[in-house]
Amino acid sequence: MEFWIQGSELKVVKLELHKIRQSFKQLIVYKSALIGLLIILALISISIYTIIALPYGKAVELWKAGEKYWLDNPRNALPSWVNVFSSRKLPETITLSTEIPRAGISKVIIPAIGKLNVIRIEFSFNYEYDDFPSELNLFFRSKFNISSPHLTIHWIKPDGEDIVLKTLVISKEENYYISVDYGLAYDLKNRISQKLSKPIEYGMPIVVSLFVVEDDSALNPDTVKVMKGVYKLWIEGTTFETDTDLDAKLNVYGKVYGWAGTDHLRRDVGIAILWGTPIALAFGVTASVVIAFMNIILGAVSAWFRGYVDTAIQRITEIFMILPFLPIMVMIATFFRPTLFNLLLAIIALSIFGAGVKTYRAVFLQVREFPYVEAAKAYGAGNFRIIFRYLMPKVLPTLIPSIVLSVPDFVFLEAVLALLGVGDPLIPTWGKIIEDAFRYGALYKGLYYWVLEPSFMLAITSMGFALLGFTLDRIFNPKLKEI
């Protein structure tokens, strides 16, 4: 008897699974579903690659890490590939450090009198870009006991012009932000102005004055030209102790970086785009699946047990439907500043008794009248057995498209919450990128890449699931068979 019971139940489940398998075969016929599937597979591959190549812990740390970590990157740089489309080549960042010897870097220590030494560091690089650098920084690290080295910094343009930038006494860690040395800016501008015997009517930034072609084109900020060629920066320093050492790093910051550009904190936007993918997928799919299953189970329980259980579940569902979802999420997010995971839990908690419960209950009310269910009751199947093995499989086919179609809703929900400023500030998600972009004026400064890249990811994720889901709906929904 036991075997026979098991057999018929199994048959029910098997039948439904078989129907599902048949339907999936039909899926391949629809091209739009194929495209959707490809997109989703691409996203999954990106996610897997990201998780392996850049482990989560490290990524979050990188994202949190202050300017110190990212200091070698330019701020708000465009993606490198824009240079492919432009005749005007934007500069990449050039980093020269005495700690990493290569061509163009030389460091010489010349003993002078007694304990005095003279250190000469020379950086030379070839600048062939059509645009000026975004920033210019010089970093020093020095080892000494008491007496600090005295340094003079020279800048030599390709045409041979030797400009003394600064003379300074440095401490053990000294940063010279050349491009914001306003005194120097004034001097440099005057120098060029005198050379041309004409006044320069705009505030010429240092990055321009150090790289500009010094003719009349320099008088107008729209016509300035970059002097191409070999530039040198040499540091001559006097040290007062025998074992004093000096290391220097020159950063000539470009305007492009990487495949995705950088943000206002010099962080590689690509990391956030990459990591946004598995986060978005996990968030969307988890929320979608869990909520759908909870809705179905509640709908089934409600329809099967009827009476008080039914009424109770129905009333609770109505209450939840009156709770305005997004405003409450905003409220919770504002007051409690939850982590991404807790946010997910809150969303699920609020959606368990959602509208789906009513829809599925309506379906189950019909299904419970089917003869095979009556038969199950007749041979004494327990209530929960009936719910899980008999009622729920009937609904499985329509469940699948609705899960797929609701994934983008949750992905966008997270993005919306981030956009409104109440998302998890520590985790790199697409919504967070857009929020940063808006907050730091991406649209006004023309930094369209900052907004377009995450928007593109959101859009394509949404489309992928929508393409797949719509086709699944047409296949699985019996009423839509011939339409």
Binding site: F325, P327, F335, L420, V451, S455, M463, L480, I483
Partner: protein, 359 residues
Amino acid sequence: MTSLVFIRHLLKRGIMILISVLVAVYATIVIANMGGYVDQIIKSEIYMAVSQSIRQNPAFKFLNETQFKKMVEDIYSNELKRLGFDKPFLYRSFNYWKDALTMNLGRALFLSSESGSRNVRIIIAERLPPTILLFTTINLILFFIGLIGGLSLSRKQGSLIDRMITMLVPLSSLPGWFYGIFMILIFASFLRILPYGGMVDVPPPSSAFEYALSVLKHMILPILSWLIAYSLISTYSRRTFFLMFSSEDYTDLAKAKGLPESVIQRRYVLRTVLPYIITDFSLMLISSWMGAIVTETVFSWPGIGYLLNAATNAFDGPIIIGIVVIYAYLLAITIFVLESVYGILDPRLRAEGGEVGVT
């Protein structure tokens, strides 16, 4: 005779919905106070009120700073005890509940209304009309586009345009505010023919006619972005509905009865499908109240959604809670109206008392 049953049923539903609102608002209070937040707000209000009243009382004009502070502290702690702050939250929650239900939400922390009032109720009331104006317009336009488009599309089933639209539908699954961003980029930033946002020109024109025109101009981009986002899918879902219902047995009989096509469309297809369409419309309405939040933020449209965003940024608790309550009321009213309309349209409901429920 069925009307009486119907009215009784409607009354019953109305009461149920009212109870749901009551419970929902209570739940909101409980959630809001999970971090003791509401208590905090109330406590600081009390402190301020106490300080104010003592300062303004001429009898206490002669107190110096320390005495003043001590008096405030004493009265403050008495007040706290009086209002039950030493007891568990449950006691206080009912007072908060009553206040929230009547929208007696006290004063905002940071934001204020156009007229300078800090009263939360006034602030919210001020922001309600713009939201209603914009989103009712959008929803009505979408409703008619969907209805007419869907109806005509359902008759051309299998044709080229039908298949094209079926293919394009998934591509338009992006929310309205998403397109809104690009609308602003194109029309405001690049072409400069339409405003970046806001509801009316600054400074607002004096004549009522010009004012209305200005508002209309500012409504173009938000409406356009939502139309682009949702008209395709609206048309498609109506068309699918119509197709599902147009090959029913009763349409066959109607045709056999020699009724002209237009009559069949109207009385047999449209009339029977209308309840479902109305349901869909109301769901769209409800989701647009939600979507309003981001859209209004993107377009700086001075409505409830924009207010919520501002309140979030300013961490203005009372307003946030107030907006949640108002949304709950909005939803409840929409659901109630929906069920009434549904009952009028589908006689089956009136008899059975609504097993074929809408919500």
